[in-house]
Structures are given as structure tokens and as C-alpha cells.
Subunit: 393 residues, 4 copies
Amino acid sequence: MRYLTAGESHGPQLTTIIEGLPSLLPITAEQINYDLKRRQGGHGRGRRMQIEKDLVEIVGGVRHGKTLGSPVALVVKNDDWKHWTKIMGADPLPEDVDPDEIKRQVSRPRPGHADLVGGMKYGHRDLRNVLERSSARETTVRVAVGSVAKLLLKELGISIVSHVTEIGGVKADPTKAEGKSADEIRKIVEEDPVYCLDPEASAKMVELIDETKKEGNSIGGVVEVIIEGLPAGIGSYVHYDRKLDGKLAQAMLSINAFKGVEFGLGFEMARKKGSDVHDEILWSEEEGYTRGTNRLGGLEGGMTTGMPIVVRGVMKPIPTLYKPLQSVDIETKEPFKASVERSDACAVPAASIVAENVIAWEMAKAIVEQFHSDQLPQLKAQIDEMRKYSKEF
Amino acid sequence: MRYLTAGESHGPQLTTIIEGLPSLLPITAEQINYDLKRRQGGHGRGRRMQIEKDLVEIVGGVRHGKTLGSPVALVVKNDDWKHWTKIMGADPLPEDVDPDEIKRQVSRPRPGHADLVGGMKYGHRDLRNVLERSSARETTVRVAVGSVAKLLLKELGISIVSHVTEIGGVKADPTKAEGKSADEIRKIVEEDPVYCLDPEASAKMVELIDETKKEGNSIGGVVEVIIEGLPAGIGSYVHYDRKLDGKLAQAMLSINAFKGVEFGLGFEMARKKGSDVHDEILWSEEEGYTRGTNRLGGLEGGMTTGMPIVVRGVMKPIPTLYKPLQSVDIETKEPFKASVERSDACAVPAASIVAENVIAWEMAKAIVEQFHSDQLPQLKAQIDEMRKYSKEF
Amino acid sequence: MRYLTAGESHGPQLTTIIEGLPSLLPITAEQINYDLKRRQGGHGRGRRMQIEKDLVEIVGGVRHGKTLGSPVALVVKNDDWKHWTKIMGADPLPEDVDPDEIKRQVSRPRPGHADLVGGMKYGHRDLRNVLERSSARETTVRVAVGSVAKLLLKELGISIVSHVTEIGGVKADPTKAEGKSADEIRKIVEEDPVYCLDPEASAKMVELIDETKKEGNSIGGVVEVIIEGLPAGIGSYVHYDRKLDGKLAQAMLSINAFKGVEFGLGFEMARKKGSDVHDEILWSEEEGYTRGTNRLGGLEGGMTTGMPIVVRGVMKPIPTLYKPLQSVDIETKEPFKASVERSDACAVPAASIVAENVIAWEMAKAIVEQFHSDQLPQLKAQIDEMRKYSKEF
Amino acid sequence: MRYLTAGESHGPQLTTIIEGLPSLLPITAEQINYDLKRRQGGHGRGRRMQIEKDLVEIVGGVRHGKTLGSPVALVVKNDDWKHWTKIMGADPLPEDVDPDEIKRQVSRPRPGHADLVGGMKYGHRDLRNVLERSSARETTVRVAVGSVAKLLLKELGISIVSHVTEIGGVKADPTKAEGKSADEIRKIVEEDPVYCLDPEASAKMVELIDETKKEGNSIGGVVEVIIEGLPAGIGSYVHYDRKLDGKLAQAMLSINAFKGVEFGLGFEMARKKGSDVHDEILWSEEEGYTRGTNRLGGLEGGMTTGMPIVVRGVMKPIPTLYKPLQSVDIETKEPFKASVERSDACAVPAASIVAENVIAWEMAKAIVEQFHSDQLPQLKAQIDEMRKYSKEF
């Protein structure tokens, strides 16, 4: 299973093609749009999020609400395209046009963005040619891809949810997640302005975001993704590049502005004794093998254990600030204070949706590749069988 | 560039084949053996590390000290193989053999290892069939592969080094690394019993390891890898799976017992303002573009910036404890206290070498794949040109 | 470099995303449309080709006529979509709809098509769900992808052309291609009704196609692709899956209805002595190394030699015949005479364009992956250098 | 499933690592050695084949006769290594050695080999550095890999066999294969000196080989591989690079000296009407869906139909001739008559074994990747189920 995305931030549309989905999977645009809306929400977003409402069109691979087995193509049109046609058009510029007038050329790289290095790499002295693609706008279609993955996981009895555990140093009480199912968590965070489980922390986060915005600064945070209902044995220990944790880590770090990832107790494991880190193995007639705890976050030896996967990612503060950072104009080589292209003070809630969806994709991909996945019904039967087999092992 | 490894912990040998190396790269077994020795060192290792001295043989792809461009095959023989021939031999057992006598069957899965899930996945009721491969013994050849990668990086003017920054909650003073080159760091950690830059912290770590060993427990820690001398523009922002940070994260998480990874300030970024996280862009005639700081750890937009890459990984405490954890015998379904197969109280120093080498491989791979890499001299010329181009951009 | 395609024959559009193109490559829709038109031409096409005129839209990755380095998205809309919206729509059918009325269900698999096995594989009892994707309609966007590849090759001084060498047993005189450049060949075949170099054979082919059509039958043929101006050393002998001939063969056999491929003298080599098959190596101050002949078709040891690549593919007669073949209705299990969905008597000329373009893609991909290909100017410089290096070797 | 190979023709050993095999597959060295012996046989081989007897050692991934699920490592030692240690050793040459004495340097590229272009590509002026790897000696381990694949196929009820259909223009009577099972074919060709089914043709082939040898020339030929017992639906039509015929074609063209491939009627399809090419679909209660003929060679829409796959490859005459070809010394630029490194007049019988085994690998790989393949028993059950499902469709 694989996908490609295309599209620039102010181009006509974002496009994605997903190849390798099982046939007979129910998909509707409505289900995907729900996630797109969640990605545009969260306290602390700038103006652009409010004016554009992303809607997906399914333009291939789905007929009468079900996947055909052929590649699925999704499109999210840019409502604002009419204002950008000249600036971002694919056609060569007519000879008599004054390029300065329509190109909105950017020669001032923003620290923390791909601008400068991207320009060097691809030979663009107009850094707009970089920032239009490196923009987090592209995560829109990655969320759409993840929505499709979640529909698949759901059919297999697997739930996935994300919540915000930290913003700008304000931490949610970790016990709030304990004992809650993915569905219960989803219900709570859907109602919370920063997609957080802990109402007290949430209030503080909102306050901090508002303050930060006022001072023209930005803040980052930590998001947690939980996957429930997994069969044991997805991934493998036999070769280094088949370990599931490695793949999930790559997925998390592929999100714009993410700088770290950890599973279960994560970096806390550097401060604990072995006897306080590992999860004891239990067995009962009714449930088969279980674990007393889930400190390792659902993975042992690069494989799912059957316990929930718990993985967190850290997002840096958005680098585009009203409070500007020093940089250098690549034409004049003069120093300047970096310009503002967008203005979210905090995008962590939105990023939690992106994280949930890219992790969902990676998980679905691992499952589809491990099993016979031509048709959904066959895949379902195998997952059930694997659950039974593991229990009776 | 790609490689495969094979071999079980007590099998005849570990084998690796590396495909895609440039021709004309100088390689000797001696250089690789140095890293293998470092991997076997560090305070806190058990008995096995002392009796086995790993030595590599080059059995393909190298002639008269230089790579041919053909795949390189490396072998590390198991000195102890003579004692394991019957137990681990490839030939079918003769019919008149009592399997119990020679199989050293394992039916008791150790928590925190691949044992139980691996057995389910591959249908092994003798869990030895799992643990022989899931053992960290396999990292021996991954270190060998990384040694070759480091020889390549060195030819390109790129240095890589690792050091231990935390063990069991004892943290090294982070300022000890400041202003030091990779070579300077290497000299210090080569002399340190736990491969740590900070002598005071090192002494405490040694003490803690000894105590932990006495109580039959284990501790984990954090290792940091630094890569210097990189040209800007390795990796790419244009597609999610081409981001270099994602690839390095996958590499780090592919190391046995690693549970998290972070770049630059890492998880601390969740606690800081944007103005304290991003690195300002400077420019001078002599140096071209530089950054005032390196908080992002050398990567922007999934690409190298030219600043050193700084990446850390967290290793959980080794799950094999004298102080046993509860588990279940898969035959009798009776609970038991998990048995001890190995006995390192702390493998973090050794793991720092593994981390250094797997990261070196991933970095070398990214470079080889981005450039014309048939021959080393051509590759060198391009890297130089890219450095010049970036400076003059 | 990679691409994915999506879209069903009667769906809203065909979509493709190309990832990994160098930046700064000039591309216009006009250039791609030229190939799309050629693909729809050729004597012997049915009615559908005449009513639909395929036009491409560039919806990502290109700005002001040049690639950005980001993925390129291309779309070919289906003009006839308004008549198929209900039949092929992505939305679930409303509950009160009579499915029989709008589904145009197919339960009768056509021999020689993917219908029957595709239905089994993906669980479709409505075989329309198979044939809509397995249709050669999809080659439209593969041709578009190849057009982009040809624009890249052209910038590197590499020309590629195809011509029809055989239809229904009528063979073109092979000497007609001798001594002609790719551009000269293109000029001739552009004017020929069956894209053939030999006017006498062409006239006979046209006649045969007309006869065959009258009798409700179909005929296949052979197409030849020639690539000129290649540097030596693309591909590699060092590992089996890096051989360029293998990759080109896979590309050719990935075209609908193609059943064989051969290089240079091809299957004739089974009938010749070694001394009549191999190409002697010559050298001169002015030209460097050359070959006296090109019987091997431009490849030795899985690598380009610098001589033109000559590769042929055989296309079977289109399986959809007015003269029907026996098959079985999957619902009733009753035998029937297979129905006609399309009616080209001969699609070999069109297939020559598909062949040219899929081979162009594979060749461009091999080059882009072997060299430093972030920017077109850097790639060009390397190719020139490689030509010089080979000459002076 | 993937594998890598390493090793030079006169190096210490050939090595391969196979990753992704199901666990619990029975494998013995004896079974692999049988194929290695067949590869060394066939009328027309030179002296080297007679003195070296290739034997495999299993050095990883197999315990007590069964795969573990971990990567399998195979080694074929070079018996003659003691005579080549200095010439091909991995260690740098001591400074006081006269390189001319021990290097056996080659400066004269042989037409039809990788020598010249390989030297240019990898910067080797000693062309031995090329020919040692580009030699067909490497196919030894590819045969070993294919043997393992055949053991897997056999467990799944799938048989594969090859036979020689043409040598130097002498064609076997194609009707000799009709109605024979793979096992019956194998029995006949095992007894034939040129692995041919037709005794009359075989006698002529032997005669022709002897004559050709006398005149210092060489001849090629055509080999056919047949795979029986396949379930329908391996491969896919949904994306161009998932078509099974493309993958098999790449495999065939990856064999040294192979220049073409065709399925079923192959190039003959260019001379036939559609009604004489396609295979009618039949159905009966007892057998389910069958085909009246097998002209398409077992593949439709890039998928297996359940009929035997029939694929042929053409091998060019071996380029190393006693009767020399003109070439150029790369040092002096003087023309010369190309030297003889080996002296087989005809390697087509041996190549038929290579073809059988590389096709077996590709087929096994396609199956393993399509199904849940962790354990052999689970894979077997799925293949059986798929057969049943297809029959009842």
C-alpha cells in the first residue's frame, strides 16, 4: 500500500492517489470531510483556517460507496485559486508580462522553514517555489489518506484516537486517559477547544495560547496517539527495517514541525529500573495472554503485543512569528527580520489530527502488507483468525 | 544502497551483504573491528562480551583494500559455534535423536522480549527459534555495516560520533559537548568507561550500574549522535517519505530496546516559545549562510541545513533481569518468574556505538542515493561542489 | 522517481502523480497533448477514439512552465462523464434506486481480458468493477507521464522514437530504419497511417486492418522503440535487479496486451553464431569508443553502451471481437458468446506511442536515480561530463 | 521477500541472504545442491564446470531442517580460492609487492561483456575488477535462491520445470511438451544431454554444439519455463507495476546473456487473428472455470488464470570465443583480437536451470507478498482456500 500527494499551498488543488487498498471497503467523502474539518479546528488557528473549508472529492477507485481495488484518487480544491491563478499558474508566463507584478517573489528565507535550504537544493531564487510545497497545507491530503486508513482499521475492529497532552509546558494529567477507550477519548476531545482530555489543563492551554498570540510568539506541544484492538504480531523482529516502531516513528517525524517521537514510557525509561519498565505476561482461559501493564506502549521486538499502541510526538512552535527572527535576504545579502506568511500561535490541536491520521495510515499499511488483502472480507476473516490463534497459542 | 543481515545468536556466523556502495572506497577489516570492539565494551556488560571477541571477514566486493562497486559481504564467525552445532544446526535432526536432549527448548517467554509474540507469529512453540534472532547479537553486523558507512562519510569530510548523555536518571552536563568537534568528543569518550563526556556524571553512572547489577536489576539511558561536516540539502521536503529526519528516526527505533528519538532540543520544544526554538539565519562573505544556534539539530524541512545533526535515542533497561518478572509457560500455562538468558545490567554504552553506526548508515545511504555515486572520486567532487554552490547561493 | 495513476475508463477523470522530477524542467500541457493525440490515432481505431479528445491539465508541481521539484499532478478529464455519473459515481446508491437500472452490471467475462480473474481476486460479481480499471484507457495517463519523461530526456540530448514493424504478419523492411536518426524516423511515422517507416508495408497493413475489421476480427503486431544519444553506463551489472534491460522489459510487459519483448537481434540470436551476434569495439581519437554494429541493441552487462537502445514488444490482437469467443456467464454458469465492449480491429499504432512513452519513463527514471537530479542544470552538466569521461577512458 | 548476492568469480565464496521466507519451510542443502549440479551440467560446457563442484552451506535462518522466519544465508565456497588469494584478496597489497605480478590485470575489454562499460562506470582500469562480478558465476547463488523458492512452491502444490526448445537454430518439436505434466517433463530432460524434450532435436543440438566448439565459435538458444498448479489471481491489473508478466519478464532479462522473453504464443501473436489467440472460458461443476487452450501462457490482465504459465527466454551465444572479436586495449588504444577467459561453446542447457530458478523465485515472491506468509501452514491454507473460492466463483 502506498500513496503520493501533489499540490502547492496556493495552487489549484491538492491531489492524492492511494494504491493497494482492499476492494469492498466502504468509503464516503463525508467521512473524510469530518477529519478535514477537525484538522482546521483547534484554538489558536489563524485566519486562513476560518475562510477555507476543505472538502474532498473522490475522483477514482470508488464506485457506489465502495473501493474497487483500483487506486483511489482524492482531490481537495483550493477555493481561493481564482486569486492565485496568475501567481501560481502552470502555464509559462507571456513574454510581455512584468514578472515582478504577478510572481509575488520571495527572497527572504524564514528561519525554521525549508525556504533557504530548499532554494539551494532545487535552484529556486524565488523562495515561493519552495514554501508553496513545504507548507503544512499539504497535510490536508495526508489527513484524507489517513481517514481512509481509519475506515479500514475500523472494519477490522481497530480504533485509533489522538489527544493533546502538552502545550507550551502545560501538561495534561496523564491519569485522565487511564481506563478510557478510544471512543470515550474521542468524545471528550471532540468537545475540547485544544483536543485535550483534561479540562483544567485545557483551560490553561487556551489561556497560554491567547497570551502567546498577543505577544506575537508561538508555542508547540505534545500529542499522543492510541491504537486499540490490534492483533498481536504486526511488524517483525527478523530484520531491522521491518520493525513496526521504526515505521511509526518515521511516520510521526514526517509531519511538518515534529521533532521527536516516543513509545509508552518513552524517554522516562532512561530514569527507571528494568523491573519498573517491562510488562508482566499474564494468561487466562477467557482472555488468553495479556499484560499486567502497558509501559512499553504495545510493542515488543518491533511487533504489536495486542495491547494498545501508545505513541507521542513533539511539535515545535510554528516558526512563523509576528515577533520576527533574524534572517538574510538572498538577493541583497542584507539581514532582515523574517516576514510573516501565516499566523497560527499554536497548531498543536490540528497537528494531533495529522498525527492520528499518518499513524493510522502506517498501521493500516503494515496490516495490509502482512495479510492477504485483495478483498476486505478476506482480510477481516484473517484478522479474526489471528486473534483466535494468538489466544489459543 | 541497501543491506541485509542474517544469523542467529548461537548460529555459526552473522552475515551481511551491502549493495550499492561506490567503488574505490578504501576498506579494511581492521577499521571495522575497531567498532566491533567498542560495541563489546562499556561498563556493565555481562560475561559473554568478555569471552567472545568479534572479528570481521570481508568475503566479497573488496579487492586489495578497495570496494569494487559490487556488493560487499561481511562475516562475523561465532567462536562458540562448536558448542552449539547440534542445538542450532541447519540439518534435520536424525530420527533416533532425543530432541529434548539437544534442543534446549524454551517455553517460557521473557517479558519485554520478542519471545511470546514472535512465537505466535512464526508458529514456534520452541521460543529459542525466536530469541536466537531477536537477540541484540545481530547488532554486531549492523555495527559492521555502519563502520563501512563511516569510512565513506569520512572520505566526504563528514564526521560522526556518539556519546552517552544519561544512564538510569544520571544526566551528563550538556555543556560538556559545546564547542567540541566530533573528533574531540571521540577522544574523550574512548577513554571513558561509559562513553560519556562528563567525568563526574560518568563516575556516578558507573556506581549506579554496579549497584543495579548487585540488586539484579537493569537500567537504560539516552545516547546522542552528532554528525558534522554535512552539506546542506540532504533529504527533501517535497514528499513526506523523503524527509531525512523520518529516516533517521526509523533507523534509531530499529535498534533493539530503543523506544524514542528526538532532534535538537527535542521534547523540550513543547515547553519553549517559538522565538527560543528557531535558529536565526546569518550570512558572511567568508562562510556563506550559517545559523546563530543549532536548536533544531541540523534539520529544517526534512533537509540538512549544514549545521551538525544532533539526534538522541532512549534505550529501555535490558529486560533480562536476575530479579525476575512474572510470565507464563506456553506449554503448561503455569505462571513463572522469567528466566535469565543474559545478564548485562546496562548496555547503554554499547548501544551508543550501535546508534552511531546505524545513523551513519542512514546518512551515507541518503547521500549515496541523492548523488551520482558509482565511484568515490566523482561523489567527492559533487559534495565539494554542493558545498560551494550553497555558500554562493 | 515514481508515479501512480488512478481512474476508471468511464469515471470522471484519469489522474497521475509523478514524484521525483528534477526542478527547472520546462513542461507545457501542449507538449503532452501532442502525445495524447498520437495515442488516439492510427488506422484501425474504433469510434470512441474519434469522439473523445484527450487533453491534460497540470494541477500541481509546475509553475510558470517549469517544474518546482515538487510532485507533478496531471489530470485528463472524461468528456463523457455526464452520461456515466450514476453508473460510475463514488457516492453510495440511494436506497430507493433500482440498481439494475443504473449499474450496467456485467456478468459475462470476456476471454483475454482481466474480467474473470479480476472478479475472483477482488470479489466483484459485477465485472464492470474490473473492466473499468483494466481497460487500456489507463494508458492515456501513462502516455502523459512518458511525455514528461521525454521532455527531460530531450534536455539531456537523448531522443526516443517508436515505429510499427509488423502488423498481422505484414513486416516492414528492417533496412528502412538503418542510418536514420530518431528525428528522421519520427517525421516519417508521423505522416503514416499505421506509424510505419516502410510505405509499401504500411499500405498492406492498412488493407489488412480493413479486411480484419470487416470480418469482425482483430490483429496484433510488433513495435520498436529506439533511444539515441545515451551516455554509457546507465544501469549496472553488479546486482541482478539493477540491470537496465530487465527494467525496460518489465515496462514493456506492463502495457496492456503486450506478451513479449526483445533487444537488438532478440530471438534471432538463438539462430546465429557468436561471431555474428556481438559488436566489435572500436576506438578513435575523435569519437572515443564505438561499436562496429549494434546487434545487441545498445546494452551490455545490463548497462547502456552508448549505442542506441533498440527494443521491440509484441502486442496480441485485441481480445474484444465482433466475432465472438465462447465464455461463461458467472451468474447463470451458462455458456455464451462474448460481448463486445470496444471495437478496434488493430491498436498497434497507438500501442507504439504507449511503448515509446513507458520506455521513455523507465529510461528517464534510471538516469534520474543514477545521478544527482535535484535540478535540471546540474543533471545536464553531469551527463555531459559522463560522456566526456567515457570518451577519454 | 527479497535477496541480495555477493561474491566475485574467483573470490573466496558466493554469498546470498534471503529475507522474508515463511517459517517452517523444510529446506536441506542436499535439495539445493541438486540444482547446483544441474546448472553445472549440459553438453557443451568448458573445463571449469568439470573441476568445480558447487556445494551450498546454510549458515543462517534454518534450524533442524526448517526455516525460522529469520533471513536465510547461503554460501558456496570457491574450491580454487587458494590459487587466487593474492590476486583477489580483500586486504590492501603490501607496499613492496610488484602489482603486475599478482594482479592479473586485464586491459582488454571483451565485446558482448560488461568489461568496457563497467570499467568506465566504476573507474576500473583493471577490467578484472568488472569481469569478476559480471561473470555468470554469480548465477550459482541465484540458482540456490531459486531452489529454496521451488521448495516453497512445491509445498503449495505448484510445480515448475524448464526445458530447452532451441539451440543454434535447431528447434525442438513443440508438440513434445503437450499433455505432459511438469514432473514428466523433468524426468525426460534430466536424462537428456541438452535438457531437451525432443530426442531427435537433442541429437542435432549436441552435434551442432560439437561442431561449433571445433570452429571456436558459440551458439545460443531458447529455454521454456512452465509453472503448473497456480491459483488464479496472482499479480494484479490495478497498477502497471503490479502485473505479474512484467515481473517475470524482468527476472528473465536479469539472467546474464538473455535478450528477450515471451509468454504463450509470444511473438507469433503478431501473425495471428484475435480469434486464434485468445483462450475460451469454459465451466463445469467439477472443475469450475477452465480455458479451452493456453495460448496466452497462463496470464490475463497481469494475473495468473490458473492455467500453466509458459514463458520463454532467448540467450545470446556466449561472447567469449576462441574465434576472436576485434576490440581495443584501453591502455594502449591499440586494436586487438579479444582474449578468451572461458570457453563454453553453448551454455543454454545450464541457462535453462538458471531461468527455471529465477522464475521460481519471482513466482514465490509474488505469492508470499500477496498472502499472509509468516508461517508455511497458514500460507498453504490460504492457497487452498483461494483455489476453492475461484472454483465456486
